[in-house]
């Protein structure tokens, strides 16, 4: 079921009514039924895969928590995690690696498999107890608003909320509705307007001019951010309607002054996952190796983060670039501090944010290109040169699209800027009713008038 569709709105609406009409003890069953319908709507195999992984993880969790000795626990843990990762890898990469087209990639499997691994690891480390309530655990794995593309939730964050059964305040529901609208705005007024033109340049890089390649590479991070953070806002907002607080996934990433800081703000639920379950254990094992241990752990972690997105050297290089840049940053922190003192904090922050953005945009050329050869061609042909006219800078967008997307970009950046200082949505909720309602109407009219309605796809659904 598409996230922006009448079907999803109807499902959420019915679920919302039943959730609050039926007794509190029925709430998790209502959410679970809605989640099953959502997951199995387009293909029952997706539901079968999600239910199988959930039940397997539920049983493995109980066995892990049954007080066996450390050795047996280790066997259960490593075999369960190994099997989960084997299934995920099979679905994820078999098609790409073998060329066989008969494999259907179950929607959301990358996200719920990582949640399952997180759950089993926390039990193995003694941080969590196994969940005995099967419907609650199934919801942890399959909650419909975060099923397709996260956030990747931790058991300690989500399970207590599901057990308790959400009873949101009016303020929380209102905040959730506002977040949904913000997400719709990012997706429909910005991401979907520029996406076809950027896709076109990446698909026909060999015929595009240097300046078109430059513009496409500079705009792609914006498209990706508007698309994915738009989805996340909608997911978090929808969960708030049911009294559930999902984890943050983005925190104004383009204001980051370093790539290390960028990864604390971009796709946070995945970057924190790889930090806690791959990087930290690896650095613990290699801490005696000094800087080499940190370097090896960092590079390995980011390569894994890269290939989480797909099989192929392009994703390996994408991850490698992040790891190498962060490593370089850790070794030049002293120089950076001196430059900051010379330049002044504000100018240094602005220059650093631009530098971080450009590095990320560069790495995304590998992320977005079909092959390394294409990515290298793309990079080597980037220039300020146009084939016939400077108007090629608009990469084929009409003036109307340029104005709408440009205005949406300014609004999104202004929103991010104010959110980094104050919670703008909370402030709006406390403002006088005429101001509040004027803003509600204005944003709704803007989305209806200028949003690209009719879209169904999000970039991160493919992962």
């Amino acid at each position: 079921m598409a996230f922006i569709s009448i079907g999803f709105a109807v499902l959420t609406g019915i679920c919302f009514i039943l959730y609050y009409m039926l007794p509190a003890r029925c709430r998790k069953y209502v959410l679970l039924a809605a989640s099953c319908i959502f997951v199995g709507y387009s293909n029952t195999m997706f539901l079968a895969a999600a239910v199988s992984v959930s039940i397997f993880t539920y049983c493995a969790g109980i066995i892990l928590d049954s007080g066996w000795g450390k050795r047996r626990q280790g066997i259960v843990f490593w075999s369960s995690v190994g099997l989960l990762l084997f299934c995920w890898t099979g679905f994820r990469y078999a098609g790409t690696l073998t060329g066989w087209t008969g494999i259907i990639f179950p929607l959301g499997i990358s996200f719920y498999t990582f949640q399952a691994v997180s759950y089993l690891t926390e039990i193995y480390w003694g941080e969590e107890k196994a969940e005995r309530d099967l419907p609650a655990f199934m919801l942890y794995m399959m909650l419909f608003m975060k099923f397709l593309a996260g956030p990747i939730e931790r058991p300690s964050d989500l399970l207590p909320q599901i057990r308790k059964g959400g009873s949101p305040s009016y303020g929380m529901m209102s905040y959730g509705m506002k977040l949904i609208v913000v997400g719709l705005f990012k997706k429909l007024a910005l991401a979907d307007h520029i996406a076809p033109y950027i896709d076109n340049i990446f698909a026909s890089a060999h015929t595009a001019s240097g300046v078109q390649l430059l513009m496409a590479s500079l705009l792609y991070p914006i498209e990706l951010y508007a698309d994915f953070s738009g989805y996340t806002d909608m997911a978090i907002g929808t969960a708030m309607l049911f009294g559930i607080r999902l984890s943050d996934n983005f925190r104004q990433p383009f204001f980051a002054c370093t790539t290390a800081d960028f990864w604390r703000r971009w796709h946070m639920s995945l970057s924190f996952w790889v930090r806690d379950y791959i990087y930290v254990p690896l650095t613990s094992v290699t801490r005696g190796w000094g800087h080499w241990g940190v370097a090896m752990s960092l590079i390995t972690t980011f390569v894994i983060l890269g290939i989480w997105h797909g099989a192929g050297w392009t994703f390996v290089i994408y991850g490698l670039i992040q790891g190498i840049v962060i490593l370089w940053e850790t070794h030049t922190s002293g120089t950076r501090n001196r430059v900051r003192e010379l330049m002044g904090g504000r100018i240094f922050s602005a220059v650093s944010a631009v530098r971080t953005y450009l590095i990320f945009a560069f790495s995304l050329i590998f992320f977005r290109s079909p092959s390394v050869r294409d990515a290298l061609y793309f990079i080597s042909n980037i220039s300020f040169r146009a084939d016939s006219s400077w108007k090629e800078m608009n990469i084929g967008m009409s003036d109307h699209v340029c104005i709408v997307a440009g205005a949406a970009l300014v609004l999104m950046w202004a929103y991010d800027f104010f959110m980094s200082r104050n919670d703008l949505l909370e402030k709006l909720g406390k403002s006088p009713a005429p101001v509040r309602w004027a803003v509600y109407y204005l944003v709704t009219i803007l989305i209806l008038a200028y949003g690209k309605i009719g879209t169904e796809n999000f970039i991160y659904l493919q992962f």
Binding site: Y279, S284, R287, G288, G293, V294, S297, T330, S333
Partner: protein, 83 residues
Amino acid sequence: MTDSEIMETITSIFRMVLKRENIILTETTTAGEVEGWDSLTNMTLMAETERHFGIRFSFREIMKLRNIGDLCRLVSEKTGERD
């Protein structure tokens, strides 16, 4: 070794690893309060602490540390065991 000596030594390790002379640590100091103490430097700090005191932390012990007070207590415990 007294608690204040352990704290003093750990402070000097933090100043050396994080290259900041103005670091002042207390029992309640957490990673968020010290500039430069993050996931990238944490294990280097632990490794340097282990090397200096001639002890070894397990992964679980490191994961359970919540603040400098926890680290000092762990060092005190480990050096006591060793002696």
